[in-house]
């Protein structure tokens, strides 16, 4: 039943927190091949992989495996999901059951295998990564060492035997033995007809065993889309600005520069043994013409395309991916160029004072005309110039508006005599709309004021409270840490939901989790949070926090009221005056 088609992506775009991370990406990942996704940190590689796995909902575009679309209206396609297995970054901390065997059963459940089949697969998979089944099956996965957990997550994937493996940085945290096992596992998978898409930094390990490479920059495919691995290696070696090369390519480049001729190779690079043999032959055979003669093209220009890819039907796929029209759109940078106001531009006291004045002005309004004027002011002076700080909250704002509408409609229902009264509807609507304007106007404060500066503002204006023994200073670090920790909690929760989603082959939209799984991930999530807090205190102590023992901290950030603070306050003071007299 296994289809042999490639995994196509057409004109894919993905937004993360309102920002375009993947932009107009088109590519066709060939079946039966190992394809790497490469690019700088932050180029959008992981986002692409997660979207291919159905863990992020694309903003636009098509994802299709053979003839199966990933998205069927607003649900995921089970047929597609059953053919893929995904391992995310740091997926070692994904366990939520009490034994390794239970974890295996959870992952294999969607495949509806018999008990014996499951047991056989568990043992094979553990053996493949060098963990003895009799020792590990009954262990609690959370008590395994970091390296063992990484191997276990690989085994978990192998046990499901998906046609497509989607891996994010699988070599991270593995030592030499683990990397060796990973390579063997991948090559066996390909030999059995399987395919893989791997996000990778570690080209030295993965490029030699892969067939094709997709290079991503700024969320789009670079130049020609997917190309053969050998061709990619050659272009890396030839390019001057790609920065540090994998050592084998660097070696070839330096040898070439030194005028040493090497035989053409049909692999990404020669193994050390082959390179040494070639060098030895030249150095010892007396064939010095080759050495003396420089300008050999052998390394920089290997044969355009290796047989391994040309002879398959996938060659056509690779050529379609090189479509020049795609190439054209890719060059446009996806990022918008909004002007960002630095977070230390204004004194927090000026920001808070201005907001209080303006919010009071809005709340003073008694009719819809006044509210309209206030909204226009808010749009012109706050919403539009600071729109980049508001867009991340778009979903929350829409939710609030919906809630307001529901409240308003209910407000009209009369219980005493069945009927509908418009007066309270307008009244409630007016009040809630005023609150909405006040709230949205307050959203940018978080971006204009960092936690520390806000804390300093409190300290400097309320410093006199020290006299009555209020521990104003002790709040300093606490406030900052809480604000640092909040985004971490959000990120970690999203990561857990994604992992549970991927392993359970749930067809609900990403980010939404069936209730039965919610229970399963709560405990490991708490555990991960504790570990995170632990790691943070540890890292802070390591950098020097709390090491001075007793001496009073100094103050490097002292707020000073500037001209621009006065201007800001005056502008909003005038707006307040207008709204007051309206």
């Amino acid at each position: 039943m296994r289809s042999n088609g490639s995994l196509h992506v057409h004109d894919l775009s993905v937004l993360v927190d309102g920002k375009t991370i993947v932009n107009a990406l088109s590519a066709a990942f060939p079946a039966g091949r190992i394809t790497l996704i490469v690019g700088h940190n932050g180029a959008g590689k992981s986002t692409v992989l997660e979207t291919l796995a159905g863990l992020r909902e694309p903003a636009g575009g098509i994802i299709q495996l053979a003839d199966q679309q990933l998205w069927l209206k607003k649900k995921l396609n089970k047929e597609y999901l059953m053919q893929i297995g995904v391992s995310l970054q740091q997926s070692s901390a994904q366990w939520f059951l009490s034994t390794v065997a239970d974890e295996f059963r959870y992952s294999m459940r969607p495949y509806q295998l018999s008990g014996e089949e499951m047991n056989a697969r568990m043992e094979d998979a553990l053996a493949a990564v060098g963990l003895e089944s009799e020792r590990f099956l009954e262990r609690d996965p959370k008590t395994l060492s970091g390296g063992q957990q990484r191997r276990l997550s690989l085994a978990m994937l192998a046990a499901c035997q998906p046609q497509w493996l989607l891996l994010d940085e699988p070599t991270a945290g593995l030592d030499a033995d683990g990397i060796q096992q990973l390579c063997v596992l991948l090559m066996k998978h390909r030999a059995a007809g399987g395919s893989a898409i791997i996000v990778a930094h570690d080209l030295e390990v993965l490029l030699p065993i892969s067939d094709a490479v997709l290079e991503i920059d700024n969320g789009s495919a670079v130049s020609i889309g997917i190309r053969p691995a050998v061709q990619y290696a050659a272009s890396l070696a030839a390019s001057t600005d790609s920065g540090p090369l994998p050592q084998p390519l660097e070696t070839a480049a330096f040898l070439h520069q030194a005028g040493i001729k090497l035989p053409a190779s049909d692999e990404a690079w020669m193994e050390p043994k082959a390179l040494a043999a070639a060098l030895t032959q030249q150095l010892l055979s007396g064939d010095h013409h080759a050495v003396a003669q420089s300008g050999s093209q052998a390394i920089v220009n290997p044969p355009d395309r290796p047989d391994s890819i040309t002879d398959s039907e996938d060659a056509a796929v690779l050529i379609t991916a090189a479509n020049p029209s795609i190439q054209h759109t890719n060059r446009q940078a996806p990022r918008s160029n909004t002007r960002v106001i630095p977070s230390d531009r204004f004194d927090p006291r000026a920001v808070v004072l201005s907001y209080l004045l303006f919010a009071t002005g809005i709340l003073l309004q008694q009719n819809w005309w006044g509210l309209l004027v206030a909204t226009l002011f808010a749009s012109a002076f706050v919403w539009w110039p600071l729109r980049y700080t508001i867009t991340p909250w778009r979903n929350a704002i829409i939710l609030y508006i919906r809630m307001v509408i529901v409240f308003i409609l209910f407000a009209g229902i009369k219980l005493t005599s069945i009927g509908y009264d418009w007066h309270p509807v307008v009244e409630t609507g007016f009040r809630l709309s005023k609150l909405l304007v006040v709230m949205v106007t307050g959203l940018p404060i978080a971006a204009l004021v960092t936690p520390i500066r806000l804390q300093r503002a409190i300290e400097q204006s309320l410093g006199w409270l020290r006299k009555i023994k209020l521990p104003i200073d002790a709040l300093a670090l606490t406030v900052a840490l809480i604000f640092r920790f909040l985004p971490m909690i959000k990120q970690e929760w999203e990561r857990f939901v994604r992992i549970a989603h991927a392993r359970g082959k749930s067809t609900t939209r990403p980010g939404k989790l069936p209730a039965r799984m919610l229970y399963a991930i709560t405990a490991p999530f708490m555990l991960a949070m504790l570990r995170g807090a632990d790691e943070m205190t540890d890292a802070l102590e390591a950098r020097g926090y709390g090491r001075m023992g007793g001496s009073t901290p100094t103050r490097g950030i002292v707020l000073r009221w500037s001209i621009s603070d006065s201007k800001l306050t005056v502008v909003f003071g005038i707006l307040f005056a207008i709204l007051y007299w309206l």
Binding site: N41, T280, D344, R543, R555
Partner: protein, 299 residues
């Protein structure tokens, strides 16, 4: 300067123990009730190590070899039970340690703010802060980014921001534990360059890593395995296969591509000069000078 010959750290037959929770499955009955108690684990065995002020030292080893434990011991972190003698140079500041994940170590919203907060905690006079931070940002190449929100920086820049704070604290030694493990090659090179510059200015650097490509000729390597130091010497000696295995292989580490090639060449009877080039450029140089030396011998 006799300051250069002073030991920054000196460890003599140091053993290190930690308390760890152990879980037992009670055997024959097969009940699921686990027994938990704590037991003392020995993580480091008989460590003899001295590091001089201003030195650059790599600590290498596989997962679980004890390299991070040793780094934490040097940084004076945690409360392990230690036997043996460990001394730090008198008057030395504490040595900050920067770990793999910069995300966990940054408090401020911008690199500058983060550095200020660290200096505030270390009770540095406010009037000194600006100049110290400017200098630190220059060394790490973050000057342009020091007022950018940390959330908008790349992984490498975050790591550099964590290091910049430590530089501004003017510590005389810095310990980094796999600082490049989560970074792409570009960012790794930037971190390495910043620390080489810091070292050139006299700071002692201890760099813990599994990536042997980071080692270059003339560096000092300390290899660890199973909590013991198995090798302490120059990078060139680290790869020499004197009897059968090199210290690198003994420690269970994979040698780099260049080193593997040199080993293969040695086996085929090609002895290069210098015998153990470690970087691509020095390998190419050695090969071409070998070729030139043989040239006149041929008619």
């Amino acid at each position: 300067m006799n300051f250069l010959h002073r030991n920054r750290w000196k460890l003599e037959s140091v053993d290190l123990f930690v308390q760890a929770a152990v879980m037992h499955k009670s055997g024959a009955g097969g009940e699921r009730q686990p027994l938990i108690h704590t037991r003392e684990h020995q993580l480091l065995f008989n460590i003899d190590l001295s590091i001089k002020s201003g030195e650059w030292v790599f600590i290498v080893g596989t997962n679980g070899s004890g390299k991070s434990t040793l780094a934490r011991l040097l940084a004076g972190l945690g409360q392990p039970r230690v036997s043996g003698v460990m001394t730090s140079a008198t008057g030395a500041s504490f040595a900050p340690l920067v770990t793999q994940n910069p995300e966990a170590a940054l408090v401020g919203m911008t690199p500058e703010e983060d550095a200020i907060l660290l200096l505030e905690q270390l009770a540095v006079p406010p009037e000194e802060m600006a100049s110290r931070i400017d200098a630190a940002m220059r060394i790490t190449g973050l000057t342009e980014w020091m007022k950018q929100p940390i959330a908008q920086l790349s992984g490498g820049q975050k790591q550099l921001a964590a290091i910049a704070g430590c530089i501004a604290s003017e510590a005389d030694a810095l310990i980094v534990d796999e600082p490049t493990a989560m970074l792409d090659p570009h960012a790794s090179t930037a971190v390495m360059a910043a620390l080489r510059e810091l070292h050139r200015r006299g700071t002692t650097i201890v760099w813990v890593t599994q990536r042997l490509e980071e080692l270059i000729e003339g560096d000092r390597v300390v290899a660890m395995k199973d909590g013991r130091i198995t090798f302490d010497g120059s990078t060139e000696h680290f790869y020499i296969r004197s009897s059968k295995k090199s210290p690198c292989e003994e420690a269970g580490l994979d040698a780099t591509y260049v080193v593997e090639t040199v080993w293969e060449l040695q086996q085929s009877g090609v002895a290069l000069e210098p015998p153990m080039p470690l970087t691509a450029s020095s390998l190419a140089k050695a090969v071409s000078s070998y070729a030139q030396q043989r040239q006149p011998a041929c008619p």
